[in-house]
Symmetry: C2
Subunit: 205 residues, 2 copies
């Protein structure tokens, strides 16, 4: 059991690196099997086609990203009891984390899938959707908690606000890639933080 699992993980590791660097289609199965030091037959033993590989990658990605958010905002919760402060600290930690990534954020498989939609089957798209909806409910809840304490300084759709975190991350990654300026992504997170601050910080009288 353990032997097969390790091979599977190695395939996923190798594939993820290549796909984020070059795109899904530009990454050939033959290249993956070469770098994973297995054979083509070995690959198809673990994944029946490229679609299945994509789905496995997305599913693994969701778990990793979720754990990361858990850790970041968990640490933020240790540092403050105030829901607004927790959000602001969490966003700062997130920005710093992205900033420290060598070469910038490696990119998001969700966006890769979103832009090559018909290439994937229904199950891949569903997995993708679940990931994005998970982030939505996570941040939605945090903004709900903020609004229980702080009235917003502008009327906003809270679902859209929750989505803004993901949107700015995804958009930031696209921009960073397009311009080859890795720092763009973290800068966008800082701007989001600035917005949240302005939106919920009570006006001095």
């Amino acid at each position: 059991m353990a032997r097969g699992f390790e091979t599977r993980q190695k395939i996923l590791d190798v594939a993820q690196e290549a796909i984020l660097a070059k795109g899904f289609d530009a990454t050939s199965i033959e290249e993956i099997v070469a770098n994973a030091e297995i054979t083509k037959s070995g690959f198809f033993y673990h994944f029946k086609d490229k679609n299945t590989l994509a789905r496995a990658l997305i599913e693994r990605h969701i778990v990793v990203e979720d754990d990361l958010f858990d850790e970041l905002f968990g640490r933020a919760k240790e540092l403050s009891d105030d829901p607004l402060q927790i959000m602001l600290i969490g966003l700062k930690l997130l920005a710093e984390l992205i900033e420290d990534m060598p070469g910038g954020h490696p990119g998001c498989i969700v966006a890769t899938a979103a832009y090559q939609d018909r290439l994937f089957d229904r199950e891949v798209r569903e997995a993708n959707k679940r990931a994005v909806l998970g982030w939505r409910s996570r941040f939605r809840q945090m903004f709900d908690e903020i609004e229980e304490v702080y009235p917003p300084n502008d009327s906003v759709d809270r679902v859209a606000l929750a989505d803004m975190v993901s949107a700015l991350l995804e958009g930031g990654i696209v921009m960073a890639r397009a311009l080859n300026e890795p720092l763009i992504t973290s800068r966008q997170v800082y701007l989001l933080r600035s917005y949240v601050k302005l939106l919920y910080t009570p006006k001095e009288q």
Copy 2:
């Protein structure tokens, strides 16, 4: 001359629609030539390979998007002399425009290229970069003009702020595609508008 130009445009139209719907690789040349009602030879008469097609699409996209921004913010300028109001009106017009698109914003070729980077050659990536830098300088200038009149309520990197327009558009499109909720993109533009408003509207005393 006119005949060749029309065929070329038709190829670009057909290709753009298919690529935005399915991704670059999932769109075959044979499919394009079938829908454009020409032959494979005809295609390769106009574009020497798929790369050249991609570059032409990106270059055309830049012009269309630029014209659109010109028109939107031009109209905004007719409605107000105040730089902040011009931005707010322009963003509202943009949001409304995206909202009215049947099925949501069709998607951005820039992001498609960004996520399939190594698939394209240097020239395509350069064209892509030029597009994004063009938007940066456009919005940067607008924010500069705002700051000449209004001191910001939070210290922000103005380049990042200019990039935020593109980032939220790109990110919003990714989200809209991933969730199949076309309205997400325009909602994100409304949030950006809200941020700009909070950032530059003077505090009442």
